[in-house]
């Protein structure tokens, strides 16, 4: 019985090594519940900051979860909000990664660096978004459809039912519904999701001096200057 377990362990290790995907991204920020699923059948474990993601890894977040994922070839970033489930895939060439995100449900923000002869595609149950270099939010619901909110650049949004596609520009929201409709309209600011990791805008500049007492209490001297 012991030998059998060893063989199973050995085979699992070998199979795991053979089928382990290429490393393509790293999780840099994690809040709340977030898990990564690997292997086949998929086994989920908690994502921690610094977790390296490989081709074929699945990421899912709980009701308070948030994960920032950065791709290693061009620093394109995915910010995955709560109640989201997706698969990250990437085909490596010598210097670039053809990236494809298969999102089943949820909300994400994609900040995509300019793609040179590579693909960045996000597939939902309803649509395919092809990206060249842009910043946008995607809210996907398999029962209603997709909402793509353009923040920068242009995203091509194609409906899988009808094959109709539109280019969603910055400041516009593209809708792709499960009944095949695709349209866009000017973005209502109130519909833009909140980014927990939003880059801040500050007035002026500041100098911070961090002091820590013997009990570990931290004090900060903040000097703001123009």
């Amino acid at each position: 019985m012991c030998d059998k377990n060893k063989w199973i362990f050995f085979l699992t290790l070998v199979v795991g090594v053979i089928f382990a995907g290429d490393k393509i991204a790293v999780a840099t920020k994690v809040f709340g519940k977030a898990e990564v699923g690997r292997n086949n059948p998929v086994v989920y474990s908690m994502i921690k900051p610094g977790t390296i993601l490989s081709d074929g890894d699945r990421v899912r977040t709980g009701s308070t979860g948030f994960v920032t994922v950065i791709f290693i070839d061009d620093k394109s970033a995915l910010k995955i909000k709560e109640n989201t489930e997706l698969e990250i895939t990437g085909i490596l060439s010598a210097t670039k990664i053809n990236k494809q995100i298969n999102i089943d449900i949820g909300t994400l923000r994609a900040t995509v660096e300019k793609q040179k002869n590579t693909e960045f595609v996000i597939r939902t149950p309803t649509s395919v978004a092809s990206v060249k270099g842009t910043d946008f939010w995607l809210i996907s619901d398999p029962f209603t459809g997709d909402q793509l909110i353009g923040l920068e650049g242009t995203v091509n949004l194609l409906n899988l039912l009808t094959g109709v596609s539109i280019d969603v520009l910055a400041g516009y929201t593209g809708n792709s519904t499960i009944d095949g409709a695709v349209n866009d309209s000017e973005t209502d600011e109130a519909t833009i999701p909140d980014d927990p990791d939003e880059a801040e805008v500050e007035s002026g500049s500041e100098l911070r001096i961090y002091l820590e007492g013997p009990d570990g209490t931290q004090k900060v001297i903040l000097i703001q200057y123009q």
Partner: protein, 923 residues
Amino acid sequence: MNAQITGFIRRIITQYILPFSLVWGASSVDELYHKPIQTHPSGENIIITLSTVGNVLPIEGTVYYRTSTQHHFQEIPMRFQNAEWKGIIPGEQVVAPALEYLVILWMNETDVIAFPRENPFDTPYRIIITPKERTRQFPNRGKTLSYFDETVESNMMILSPEQGETLHRDQVVIAVSFFGVMELDPESIQIVIDEKDFTDQAEIGSGLISLVPKKLKPGNHIITVFAQNIHGMEMIPIKWNFNVVKYGLDITDKFVYDGSLSWYLSTEKVVGNVLNISEVTGKINGSLNWINTVSNFRMTTRETPYQQSYNRVSSTIKMGEYLTVFAGDFYPHLSSYLIAGRRIRGLGVSLSFPWLKLDIITGELNRAVQWRGDVNQGYTLNSMLTEVKEGGGYTYFLDRTGYTFTRKIDTYRLSLNYKSTFHFGLYFLKSADEPGSVSQRIPSEATFTVDTLATGITPGDYTFSEFQTALAAANGTLNFPSSKWSGGNPEDNLVIGFDTKTYFDQRQISAEFSWNLSLYNRNIWDGAMSRTEMDTTLDDSLDGLIGVQYDEHGLITGTPLMIDTTLILNPVAYEGIFTINPYMTPLVPFDYMSYEKHPIATIINMPSSAFHFRLNGRYPGNSFHLEYRQVGPEFVSFGNPYFTGNIREFTIGDRLTMLDHKLIINLNYKYQDNKILRSEIDPLRTYTFAFGVTLIPGQNVPSFTLNVHSINRNKDIDDFGDGMDMREQSRTSNALFSVNLPFEIVKTKNTLTINYNTVNNTDLLSERRHPGYIFPKTDTKTISVNITNRISPTLRTIFNAFQTEIFLPTAIGVATAIDNVKWRSMGFGIHYAMFNNKIRFMGNFSTLSSSDSAGLNFLNGKMGCEVDIWKNVRLRFAGNLQLNENHLDQTDEDETENEPENPSTSTWEMNTSGLQLSINYTF
């Protein structure tokens, strides 16, 4: 302590001392032993050792050494320890390819012994310096590279943290990519934070360095990443800094904010009606480490007291992970059976812990609207009820219309979560109109029409005071009730329910169940009924018993329930929770007669209940869905008025993705009917089967989509007498084929999309219909073509055209025919950006025409321009115009026979037009 030996000292030792020493030292050398070093790794200290065997004791020793690039020797004093003389050549001097050394030992003031014995300065020992073994020791990395150091660019990319970024102590992740960096030796990578080596804590490989450093102190930190190429050449290190703060304690933490402010102005003219709108909208987000706020507002000129509010003001405050407060206008979603999608103006609190969540919402669904602002939209004179009163004159009946009650809502939801594998939620909704929120008397400008049936008063539009004056003059009296107006009854609603969800197989399968019950009262003008009223309402006789029927002799008939009214709850006591009176639905939650025979079915099929069971599976490449849902015909929730009632449906579907998600196959089956109540004898059954296949091989290659729906409807009516034939046994076939073809012509990227869609309806009862029966379903056939062109990064165009054929069944006498109508449209749009995308023009032109007798023709044009007039300020200007062609019959008196009959001319008229201007500022 080592010093460069001068040529003078070297000459003295060589020419004057060593020749004598050789004579003296002949016996001493045998008692001193040195084993020359042959090879040594670079960068590591070399220890030169001489062992003493006998009684010979030198008084001083020196090691002389030089690297292969040095002409002069350097000296290092030796020390006597444990019967050995030792001299250490420092590691930084030990560099490839070789190092030469010799040892001079002074036996006394004049005698020396040298190693090597013969001409030590001319033929010193030679050590081959080998490249250092790959260990994670980098003694040289701290030095500053000089101009003369041979280095190469590293091209490593910082992924995290950003330069100068402030991070919480538990969120520090250092990630550097060397993916695609040519000839970088991963083994040579060294990560230094604040001059401390963290390389051993890092994960290095596959083009990525990932490091989660343990316990970095708050403050500023400097990271340096060193690396060499595979030839051993040092790459230029990358260096950056970041700040670490303690979570939650740094109250002076950075307050960050952003937001936007927009002003929108539009004027629209639609068939002669002008509508001007001005709106100001804004959003501001602010956050500290532990608190986030999001505030939105919209102020619009569409706001009017005659309708529900168009203005919106809302604020969400999120404190950590545990508490969220919503204030103002917000759209909660607690359950689709409870509240989903309805705007609430009020307050919401969500308290969330890992195992428990409590949601409390209180506010208004509707605000009170007293009247609609138009004639007869506040008061209505019911002339038909005008009566002659005793003593002469008339009594007139005035009524109130055009109002909306304040509708209050309170909802609560308590959710339990066990290890994220089992969820249970219990919820409750109470919503009711406030009859007192609408006044009997409304503003004096409200007018109503007095028509000719109101005898005695001159017809016309009157305000209330004007009517009173007229009334006095006509010796009339007014009957104006203080409640129970015809404009609508106040209502009451109560919903309770629960939902549960659990997961299986690594959370890849979820199973959920929800059950809900509503109580609805469509008229609470009179409030709750008393026990006496309940007695007579439920069995017609006031006997203190419910469920007892009597015959004409006063004898009990049938099998009575005989429930003593004093033993059941007093509706008046529970009026604060729900108003129980004869207008409530259901009056009895379920059919107690049926309950005895089919208790489970009776409970499940309660007309005011709604429930579903849902199973979702989400595996890689395969997602399936199975659901049974039933909503009773009397289920009502004010929180979700759009809920479709009287429906029973079963759905099963599967979605397969293959070929790396490039081939997608959808299969779906749905059965639906409305036979929840036994009383429904002619239910409509619908069977829907859907199949779809999509192939999207990749970017810049054609993609194909085929979707087929088959919908069978069946409504059997055995005997419909002489009335309309309401039977239905039909099949609707819907097929859609789409091809998306990207292609490139002369550096112009284009996409051609062709869609073909048909809808065909078949009456399966056609052979059993009466002559002249028109099957009331319309077939359609649509083909559309879209071509999008990206001529340059700044110029894009789109061309589209479609034709829809509609086959409309019509009656010609007793015969039926198919009327064929075609709609055609063509359009062209352009988008052009200039001045580095700071100015963007948009234009669109399209036509729409029909082939029927009306011959409708429309021309549409839209133009717009967006200008980034400042860094964060955007100006947008747009206009639209629609013209339609009017055909005018020309009846010329002197028309001749040669001219066609009913010649017509046409004119083009402006149908709609509009201008929009907006300014958006983001900060």
